[in-house]
């Protein structure tokens, strides 16, 4: 009897021991409504969020047509994530263990992940309180965390993270003086040439009824500027903020008013000030659809698109001048820098006008004499309306734009030659411009088909994956060349992480390789 008991005990001992609970947790793609995307395209890697394991599965391409995966642990309770403007870094904000019960409980943190061909955690910043929202500086110098999720939340509390510094010294906590509003949007300016000192970068915080200007060189210093009332006397909110760095002028489009709000940053007028603000309100004759700063032969102007008029406002004198537009354009994009020097108008900017309610686009040439304004707008009918204008990165096709339309088609616009190439599709497609700027990828999530258009030849190549595609990203391969990674996230039962990789420079499904099981890697 004793022998049997010993044996039974031995069997029990052998049977003990489990496995990491991660094996029992299925992969599910993140739904975009959670402040996260299922995957992020970086310069040299694709980061797939595996929220159930609180990690990233990072796919990199050792050589074209090959993929390798690695796992990067993230913080607990993911809040949001964003790629930097140059796609070199992925920022991931997590809330940590809340509420904290032990000194060792993981705090809220901001994680920076290097998105090169050798992905790794670049840096992390521990936070005192969990934050839900993240705004990134296009120049990668600052990040702003806001909108906490504690029992008591101060919506006007910002955590400014100086990305050039490591550790807790990088974080400046700042509470904006509040008159009832909360931050809605953030704009990081270029260095503004404020008189009486070195150029300063500012963070412009748009709140419900005011703007806050924060001097990023001295984040404790800020100025709150109330917005003007609407034309009916109600409270207004800012709809758009633009700036001109050389003149340190900020323009604000305000809802419910036919006036544009101009802020001129000037030298300090009182002791203890870093700068002062002079405001001005200029009536442009109607509710502007959009605004931007441009330069014409006479100097800086704020252009406001009002109905079928382009109203130019001199920010110094507040004198306005209107140019008649053939249709009511609602979008403007300054394209001076994108044009070849030979095509650039002397002494002035060129802007692209477009709109979602018109099938025309127009080149707005601001280089002529004041009297020539009436003939400064050259319209082109492209047959479809334009929802958005997508920039092309890199040096090869800087003078090209992609016109995204509300219909199923998209256009590749050559600004130098003023030629537009329509790309017709069967279905509405998501567009992904390659970070090297040489091609665009188009796909419809959930279908097998995807395509690429080389900007050099404008030749579309259609590809058919063997499984439904959810995202396409174009990444650099470590050995040189580029790989296009068509992700298959959440496809099949059980859902997993798979991908089809093609050579981005010679795309063909005849040589494509299929990968799956990435969700099973890196579990210890």
């Amino acid at each position: 009897m004793r022998t049997w008991a010993w044996l039974a005990g031995g069997v029990l001992v052998l049977g003990c021991g489990g496995r990491p609970s991660a094996w029992d947790s299925s992969y599910q793609p993140v739904s975009t409504g959670q402040g996260l995307a299922p995957a992020y395209g970086l310069t040299g890697a694709v980061a797939v969020v595996d929220s159930s394991l609180e990690r990233l599965t990072v796919l990199r391409s050792p050589s074209p047509l090959t993929l390798a995966a690695q796992s990067i642990p993230l913080g607990k309770d993911l809040a949001t994530a964003q790629t930097s403007a140059d796609r070199k870094t992925l920022f991931v904000l997590s809330r940590g263990v809340q509420p904290q019960r032990n000194p060792g409980d993981e705090p809220a943190q901001l994680l920076l992940i290097d998105g090169s061909t050798t992905p790794k955690v670049e840096r992390s910043y521990a936070l005192n309180e969990p934050m839900d929202q993240l705004a990134l500086d296009p120049k990668n110098e600052w990040a702003v965390l806001y909108s906490g999720s504690g029992v008591v939340v101060n919506p006007n509390e910002l955590e400014l993270v100086d990305l050039s510094t490591a550790g807790s010294d990088a974080i400046t906590q700042k509470t904006l003086r509040s008159f009832g509003g909360k931050p809605n949007r953030f704009t990081f300016t270029a260095p503004l040439a404020v008189p009486g000192g070195d150029p300063k970068r500012f963070l412009i915080v748009e709140r419900d009824s005011d703007l806050v200007l924060i001097d990023l060189a001295n984040p404790t210093s800020d100025v709150t500027v109330p917005l003007p009332l609407t034309d009916t006397g109600g409270s207004a909110t800012s709809a758009q903020v633009v700036y001109d760095a050389d003149s340190a002028t900020i323009g604000v489009r305000v809802t419910g008013t036919t006036s544009v709000f101009l802020l001129q940053l000037a030298a300090p007028t009182q002791a203890g000030q870093d700068f002062s603000v002079v405001t001005n309100l200029v009536d442009v004759g109607g509710l502007p659809a959009t605004i931007d700063f441009v330069h014409n032969a006479q100097g800086l102007r704020l252009v406001a698109l009002v109905g079928t008029s382009a109203v130019l406002v001199d920010p110094v004198t507040a004198i306005t001048q209107a140019a008649q537009m053939p249709v009511a354009f609602t979008g403007i994009r300054r394209i001076t820098d994108e044009l070849n020097p030979s095509a650039t108008a002397p002494n002035g900017d060129v802007a692209l006008l477009y709109g979602a309610n018109t099938t025309q686009i127009a080149y707005f040439n601001l280089g002529g004499a004041p009297g020539a304004l009436y003939r400064s707008i050259e319209p082109y009918d492209i047959g479809v309306s334009v929802k958005d204008v997508i920039d092309i990165p890199g040096d090869d096709f800087f003078d090209h734009k992609i016109l995204e339309t509300p219909s199923q088609d998209f256009y590749v616009l050559d600004l130098t030659n003023r030629q537009s190439a329509p790309m017709q599709t069967q279905t509405g497609l998501a567009l992904e411009v390659a970070p090297d700027g040489d091609r665009v990828w188009a796909y419809q999530s959930g279908t097998e088909g995807f395509a690429t258009v080389d900007f050099r030849t404008l030749h579309p190549i259609s590809l058919q994956a063997e499984r439904a595609v959810t995202n396409v990203f174009d990444i650099a391969a470590a050995s040189g060349g580029r790989s296009a990674v068509a992700l298959h996230l959440g496809i099949g039962e059980p859902p997993g992480i798979g991908a089809t990789v093609v050579d981005a420079l010679a795309p063909s499904t005849a040589t494509a390789r299929f990968y799956s099981g990435f969700d099973l890697g890196g579990i210890h």
Binding site: T3, L7, G10, V11, V13, L14, G15, C16, G17, G18, R19, P20, A22, W23, D24, S25, S26, Y27, L67, A465, E466, R467, H488, I491, G492, E493, P494, P495, G496, I497, G498, T500, T511, A512, R513, F514, Y515, S516, G517, D519, L520, G521, I523, H524
Partner: protein, 230 residues
């Protein structure tokens, strides 16, 4: 195919054991001349490579054994024994069905000592080789991916056998029944778990293998058997 190979090897072992059989005289037929066993082997596989296939560390196998005494002197005897252990384990890895089929063949010497007539203790060290087949039902590929490997090692164990049925006389040649228990450590080398799709599996063209890391089935084990001896 694998099973046929294993059957052939087992047959060869049995023949060699039988041919090598010598008669032990002191304890008579209580000292098993030829012994066949059927039992269960439970191994503890702590290797992380086993995790995709099981939510616990145990690997249970059916165990068939065959042994024959080569040499006997008083209470000591030396036998040649061989075991074929077969087990399969199915599990889920993040929702994907997995399975692992393991054949293990071990052959070698066993030293026995009779404490009393119906009870002997033994130790053995048996060179072992195992064939494992791991498979994964991949939802994205919509196919079953698999990997087969051979690995080699050594089983070292000690145990005891108790005669539960048999004539008291050692001169009797009627079968005797034994209960045998042993415990030890089974070492096996590490194999790479690179699961590939078969050509007709329905997986996409040029499907890359799924890399589940490496697997070692080494670990302590218990084996409990019932044996019949002559």
């Amino acid at each position: 195919m694998i099973c046929r190979k294993l059957q052939a090897v087992l047959g060869a072992c049995a023949l060699s054991l039988t041919s090598a059989l010598v008669h032990a005289e002191s304890l008579g037929s209580h000292q098993p001349h030829l012994e066949a066993s059927l039992g269960a082997r439970v191994s503890k596989v702590a290797d992380a490579g086993y995790d995709p296939f099981a939510n616990s560390d145990e690997l249970a196998q059916v165990s068939l054994g065959l042994g024959g005494t080569l040499f006997a002197h008083d209470r000591f005897s030396l036998a040649a024994v061989g075991f074929w252990d077969y087990g399969t384990h199915t599990g889920e890895a993040r929702g994907a069905q997995t399975s692992l089929v393991v054949h293990r063949l071990s052959v070698g010497p066993e030293l026995r000592y009779h404490l009393i007539t119906p009870l002997y203790v033994f130790v053995h060290a048996l060179p072992a080789f195992a064939h494992s087949e791991a498979s994964l039902d991949d939802g994205v590929a919509a196919a079953t991916l698999s990997a087969e490997h051979w690995s080699y090692g050594l089983d070292g164990a000690a145990g005891a056998a108790f005669e539960v049925y048999g004539k008291p006389s050692g001169q009797s040649w009627r079968p005797r029944l034994w209960v045998i228990a042993e415990g030890g450590y089974g070492y096996l080398g590490t194999t790479r778990l690179s699961l590939k799709a078969k050509a007709d599996s329905g997986a996409p063209e040029r499907t890359a293998p799924v890399d589940l890391g490496s697997l070692s089935l080494a670990g302590p084990y218990l084996r409990v058997s019932a044996a019949v001896s002559f």
